[in-house]
């Protein structure tokens, strides 16, 4: 923030001034600033940190506290509180963070969906705490789900990446600070490259390719969760029949008649085209085949 237009100066004693009120004995968790000393910002040995040699301490981020610390001043109108009710617009609040954190990971913050939606750094990050939840794998998703409700529902489905189990974080796939990918702020330039960073076995290139697998995994899979096995958006054969209708068995409508009698069908034993893996009972190499005879992804 440009504090010159706010007619204020830095406090005479820096953090010692602030801690007169915002000390560990403050009456509420949100008022005390003590926990900042558990984080990287309050490291004396780091010349680049706010509390390093010559650093502006609390005022490095909150702005000059001369007026704020003066008796009778309007407290909320004299400091960058970083809170949602701050008098400063989000971009100005964020500027305090970006002044230092504008390197490799955040150089394109300005162009990302979060910046365009007026997301404040402190909407996700908590600095005055020993453990910033959004930086911990197990607790990060709950922070993201504050806004991304649909994804929360998806991760509660039976087939999902292990986000609910705390073994994967949203930031394993998404680069929330950058906009290097034109799709969903992904860590890699495309959806497929992102998926293949963990699923490199699906990368090929294969002798016999399955075009959608090479182009965009989300044509068949919902990366966040599905009620179907393997995160599929739809069960085969209908999944496959959306794109394959050549004469012969791919074009045949599979109705409930193809179920075994025990499931209400009329087929003797049920149909190989419908049950168990359905199409993948034979076309098992759906991501591509490197077999000389794999033209129909059967080998």
């Amino acid at each position: 923030a440009d504090w010159t237009r706010h007619d204020t100066e830095y406090s005479p004693k820096g953090a010692d001034t602030c801690l007169k009120c915002h000390d560990a004995d403050s009456d509420t968790d949100t008022f005390t600033a003590a926990a900042i000393f558990k984080g990287k910002h309050a490291q004396r040995g780091n010349a680049h940190a706010p509390f390093g040699p010559g650093g502006l301490q609390c005022e490095a981020c909150h702005g000059p506290g001369g007026r704020h610390s003066a008796g009778g001043s309007k407290k909320k109108l004299t400091t960058n509180s970083f809170k949602p009710d701050s008098f400063l617009p989000v971009a100005e609040r964020n500027a305090a963070c970006l002044a230092c954190h504008q390197g490799e990971q955040r150089s394109a913050w300005h162009a990302g969906a979060h910046a365009r939606s007026d997301v404040a750094c402190t909407d996700c990050h908590k600095l005055h705490t020993g453990n910033d939840a959004v930086r911990t794998k197990a607790s990060q998703p709950e922070v993201c789900f504050t806004c991304h409700k649909q994804q929360r529902a998806d991760f509660h489905k039976t087939s999902a990446h292990p986000v609910k189990a705390g073994r994967m974080a949203c930031s394993d796939c998404h680069d929330t600070h950058n906009a290097g990918s034109a799709t969903a702020m992904l860590k890699r330039p495309t959806v497929t490259q992102t998926c293949q960073s963990c699923h490199a076995d699906k990368r090929g290139p294969f002798l016999w390719e399955h075009a959608p697998a090479a182009e965009d995994c989300t044509q068949c899979h919902n990366a966040h969760g599905s009620v179907r096995n393997a995160l599929l958006t739809k069960s085969p054969p209908l999944l496959c029949q959306q794109c394959h209708s050549v004469a012969g068995h791919p074009a045949v409508a599979r109705t409930g008649a193809a179920l075994p009698a025990a499931s209400g069908g009329t087929a003797a034993g049920g149909s190989v085209f419908l049950l168990a893996g359905s199409c993948t009972n034979c076309h098992s190499q759906v991501h591509g085949s490197n077999h000389p005879a794999g033209t129909k992804l059967l080998r």
Binding site: K149, A153, G264, P292
Partner: protein, 668 residues
């Protein structure tokens, strides 16, 4: 600013070492693959719970952090970081991720996990009913473990220049599902998984006031130690004969990528940024034989391996500016290119090790170039009103696919307003229209595709969506959020294929601080997805439709309670979800309906913590999880149910697990 007098005498800087050790036991009752998946709780009985943290803060910014979790389980993890603040940081990590795909599969094949599956005496047989399955089926747990080793370094961690290196070595071992067929008969097979992926990232970054730039290299090298799986044919096929088949497993491949990124602020609010990544993906695994059947005569292959090569280009240029205090504008141009340089090979046609000499097939090395242009603006005011809007244009040019070029234009608008101090609302509307330049079935695919089919990713489409968010607060202690999302896709010219898709999602969240000691959160969500597709049994005009309707409802609740000045903490989390999927296929003739596929997933977590003193605390937990799924595709389908399918007999996930844990934590 003269900070000479800023002594920070009252600053409680952290110094010295601290940490914790967790030790305890968990008692598990019941088991299910779904519960074991990723968690490592894969059996009834006792599990050792072991973990801990170590933290050190020294003079001159020296720091060390260590965290270990679940050391007694197959999901164990260890992460360490040490260094000097602002100067360097070294990272180490080890973790395991257990996958339990199913525990209800059975197979008569011997040697699962290896490269050759054989059959016991009594095989082959003409149908599954004639196979000696009662005596030969064995249960097999299908799944694999990921073991991940991470090493990384950054130096310095602050200042204009920094260098970063990260190396990940990941090994996957175990099994996964597969299948192999001979003409009209097929078997579900246990595939071996023995794979290693090494990933290296190097980056040099400059971060100045107006200019930031990064130059990087990314490599990902994948190796599979089992290039193929051979399996004995369990089916006897009369005059046709194929004793064994072979599947080619995932081939070794490599990705190398050079990455450059820069951002520049020339002055004022103007800011440019861009990324450029050149990649090369290669694959040259030697081909396996076209068939293992010695009775077939197969012409020589045109090459011994693929010499597969794909060049990728990913470029992105963005600019944003704030020409007026209340107005921001932004624009971007993106190109993602997959230039497939793999030679097209004409291979002799061999069908499932049974037929050969009936022609050739030529490979189709697909590629595409996707260009996106985006322009948007947002305006603050008057008052609390915020308006934003934008235009997007996407053009995809594909090679060797049905539609050579598709173009899509999107218009979106968003408005948000703070009605009073305690009510905020945001509405976003978007409409997109996609057109394919021309659409014709790909030549070389035999038999040819129905000319009326439109693959949904290349078809003309109208897409509309709306999203509404509302946040209400009632005092400082009660907050309510409501969100509604609706989307409709209309495939306007698809006579055959996906013709219509729509989704709706409604959610409500409530957070209530009942008192300083008690906090409550509730959420409820309902999700509906529906699609319609048309098919043609005559490979001409549409003569059947398929409709899939998925509905998911989810309710969650959480409560925490703190008492006795923090000595006692209690909490509970509950999540209940119900999913129902209906499939309706209509051909004009009477046919039995599909039963609904349903999933019930209930989980309850209770936890309690009693702090004896600053060093010692006891943590108790109870977890309950119940999964109950019904799926007509698997329900009651035993290995011999289908005459020409030797199935696993895998059943939908079902099971109830209780897990009682007690951990003693010692802090130092």
């Amino acid at each position: 600013v003269d900070t000479a007098a800023w002594k920070c005498e009252t600053c409680p800087f952290e110094a010295g070492s601290s940490g914790s050790i967790d030790a305890g036991l968990a008692l598990q009752s019941g088991k299910s693959a779904k519960f074991a998946d990723y968690s490592g709780y894969d059996r009834s009985g006792a599990h050792v719970l072991l973990g801990g943290t170590l933290r050190h803060r020294g003079a001159d910014g020296l720091f060390a952090d260590l965290a270990a979790a679940d050391l007694g389980l197959d999901s164990r993890s260890l992460a360490a970081e040490l260094g000097r603040e602002g100067r360097y940081a070294l990272r180490f990590g080890y973790s395991q991720l257990p996958r339990h795909l199913t525990d209800s599969a059975t197979t008569p094949f011997l040697g699962h996990g290896g490269a050759v599956l054989t059959l016991p005496a009594g095989f082959p047989a003409p149908t599954t009913a004639a196979m000696p399955l009662a005596a030969t089926l064995q249960p097999v747990d299908i799944g694999y473990d990921r073991k991940i080793l991470d090493l990384g370094a950054t130096l310095p961690t602050a200042g204009p220049w920094s260098w970063r290196a990260d190396l990940r070595h990941e090994r996957r071992e175990g099994t996964q599902r597969g299948a192999g067929s001979f003409f009209s008969t097929t078997s579900q097979l246990v595939l071996p998984v023995d794979q290693v992926t090494d990933r290296l990232e190097l980056a040099a970054a400059y971060s100045g006031h107006a200019l930031q730039a990064t130059l990087g290299y990314h490599a990902s090298i994948f190796r599979s130690h089992t290039p193929a799986l051979t399996w004995s044919n369990p089916f006897s096929m009369g005059t046709l004969s194929a004793p064994a088949g072979q599947l080619a497993l995932a081939p070794d491949n490599q990705l190398h990528q050079l990455i450059a990124a820069a951002a520049w602020s020339p002055g004022g609010s103007l800011r440019f940024s861009g990324d450029l990544a050149f990649g090369r993906l290669t694959q040259d695994e030697p081909f396996v034989a076209a068939t293992l059947n010695p009775a077939l005569t197969v012409p020589a292959l045109p090459a011994a391996s693929l010499h597969g090569r794909v060049d990728t280009l990913d470029a992105n240029l963005r600019v944003s500016a704030q020409p007026l205090a209340a107005l921001r504008v932004h624009a971007s141009v993106t190109r993602n290119q997959r230039d497939n340089r793999t030679p097209a090979l004409t291979m002799p046609l061999v069908a499932t090790d049974l037929f050969s000499g009936v022609g050739t097939r030529t490979t189709l090395p697909h590629g595409f170039t996707r260009d996106r242009f985006r322009l948007g603006a947002d305006h603050r005011g008057p008052g609390s009103l915020k308006l934003a809007g934008g235009l997007e244009h996407e053009r995809i040019e594909r090679t060797l696919q049905a539609a050579r070029i598709t173009r899509e234009d999107t218009l979106w608008l968003r408005g948000s307003v703070q009605v009073r101090d305690n009510v905020g609302m945001t509405l976003k509307l978007a409409h997109a229209q996609r057109k394919a330049s021309d659409y014709r079935p790909v030549e070389g695919i035999e038999p040819p595709e129905n000319p009326l089919l439109r693959k949904f990713n290349q078809a003309d489409r109208r897409r509309s969506s709306a999203a509404l968010r509302s946040d209400l607060s009632f005092g400082e202690n009660l907050a309510l959020g409501v969100a509604v999302d609706v989307a409709v896709d209309d495939y306007t010219r698809s006579a055959v294929g996906l013709t219509d898709a729509r989704s709706a999602d409604v959610s409500a969240d409530l957070a209530y601080a009942v008192s300083e000691a008690t906090r409550l959160s509730l959420f409820a969500q309902a999700d509906a997805v529906q699609s319609v597709q048309a098919g043609s049994q005559s490979a001409g005009n549409p003569d059947w439709t398929g409709r899939v309707k998925d509905r998911v409802a989810l309710i969650g609740a959480g409560v925490t309670y703190s008492a006795l000045k923090g000595r006692l903490e209690l909490g509970a989390n509950l999540a209940v979800s119900r999913a129902r999927s209906e499939t309706i296929v209509r051909t004009g003739a009477s046919a039995p309906p599909f039963p609904a596929a349903t999933t019930e997933l209930d989980s309850l977590k209770l936890f309690a913590q009693w702090r004896f003193n600053d060093q010692l605390s006891l943590h108790g937990s109870y977890r309950y999880e119940r999964t109950a799924a019904r799926d007509w595709q698997l329900d009651g389908v035993q290995p011999a149910t289908v005459p020409n399918l030797l199935a696993f007999g895998e059943q939908p996930p079902r099971g109830t697990v209780h897990l009682l844990g007690l951990v003693l934590r010692y802090r130092f």
